[in-house]
Amino acid sequence: MTSLRLALVAAFFGLFGGVAVAQSTGAEDLVRKMAVEVTAAVRKDPDIATSPAKASALIEQRLLPRFDFQRITQVAMGRNWAKATPAEQHQIVSEFTHLLVRTYSNAIGTLKELEVQVKDSRSNGPSDVTVRTLMVGRAKPVSIDYTLTSAGGGWKVYDVTVENISLVSAYRDEFTGLVSSSGVSGLIAALQKKNTK
């Protein structure tokens, strides 16, 4: 009886462990692929560092399809997500995506002198994995963790954590503050204003 239970437990964990390894590999491969593609592009075309248009094009082509902006926005908004109408939600996702793309267009050029090393990954649960990477090339290596989900079929990043600073959490305070002071429409207006600047 006991040995049967043990065997079942072992089988379960064995199977689960196998699945975990398989899903980690898929996520790691995606992160590695993104890193290789983007650094190669930045090195090949030095204009990317100085031309925001070229940088955005690179991000839109190589990174956007691999990020789950719907989920990023949803988590950043927390409880306030439910307060927005579907049309507003759509608008917030699109403005927030635009803001992030713009921000990182200005920073992507620095990848020229850096290299991304994929260290390892850990499973946070079914179809949820964090891939840990190290960006080397400056005096001090920078740790960057990517959290991915495969819930919607195919791996997509939904949080980036730089030196323990989570991107999604960073926006949560701002979003919460704006919604409580000026409502969902106030948040949208603030995003639009920022994007047209």
């Binding site: 803001l99 992030l100 713009r102 921000t103 200005n106 920073a107 620095t110 005096a139 001090k140 290596p141 030196e163 323990n164 600073i165 989570s166 959490s169 960073a170 926006y171 949560r172 305070d173 701002e174 979003f175 503050g177 704006l178 948040l187 603030a190 995003l191 920022k194």
Partner: protein, 232 residues
């Protein structure tokens, strides 16, 4: 077991000696009872950045060749390594402290008084360590958020940590002229080095105050967590 008990007794003792009320140091990322005052100080710092530090940084970066700027940063970094090592020792991280003090030894001698960071090229990676982090590793919560004039984001615990650093820093005891010019140079050097980051925060935030507060809380929490893990 007994070690962890004595550690927590130590932590409680520290918390009590730092503040009469332990509630002052309660852990909360959004613990900001002084928000109106903090926003005022934040606005003042922003203004100071715009009218003073940004122009000075631009001139600094334009006039001084990169090797000189790196050299200045390295000299301050070398002194900082002494404090990083001290804090690693206080946190019970003997191995990390060993690396820090090796860095100081190598950089002060081979690196000509700290001008050249030779240690980093020898696999001696620079660490993170300060008194605020040490208090955190000992179990003291971050306390309320506090924006310091000129210096920027902090919290109750880290401000006490800064105080300890100032009291233990040899520069504090130099003649005022030397002391102020060294500190001034370090602040300008730091600001000039972080222009990129400041621009990134500018372009990505809707409410820069709340964004900065969050980044600071996350960063400090991460450093304390890393310290605890390394001390284990």
């Amino acid at each position: 077991m007994s070690r962890s008990v004595s550690k927590s007794v130590f932590a409680v003792a520290c918390a009590l000696s730092l503040a009469t009320s332990s509630a002052v140091f309660a852990q909360d990322a959004q613990n900001d009872p002084l928000e109106p005052l903090n926003r005022g100080t934040f606005a003042f710092n922003e203004l100071l950045d715009t009218i003073f530090f940004k122009p000075v940084s631009t001139v600094w970066n334009a006039v001084l060749p990169k090797p000189v700027r790196t050299g200045v940063a390295n000299v301050f970094g070398n002194l900082d390594d002494v404090f990083i090592g001290t804090n690693h020792l206080l946190q019970g991280r003997g191995k990390d402290a060993g690396v820090d003090f090796q860095r100081v030894l190598v950089n002060t001698t081979v690196g000509i008084g700290g001008l050249i960071d030779v240690a980093s090229t020898q696999g001696l990676v620079k660490g993170d360590g300060d008194f605020g982090q040490t208090f955190g590793v000992w179990g003291v919560g971050s306390g309320f958020y506090l924006v310091l004039p000129v210096l920027g984001p902090s919290n109750a615990r880290d401000t006490v940590g800064r105080g300890v650093r100032i009291v233990s820093d040899p520069r504090t005891y130099a003649t005022p002229v030397v002391s102020y010019s060294l500190t001034g140079t370090e602040v300008v050097q730091y600001k000039a080095d972080n222009v990129e980051n400041a621009n990134l925060i500018d372009s990505s935030s809707l409410d820069k105050y709340a964004f900065t507060r969050n980044l600071y809380a996350q960063r400090r929490e991460g450093l304390v967590k890393a310290g605890r893990e390394a001390a284990r």
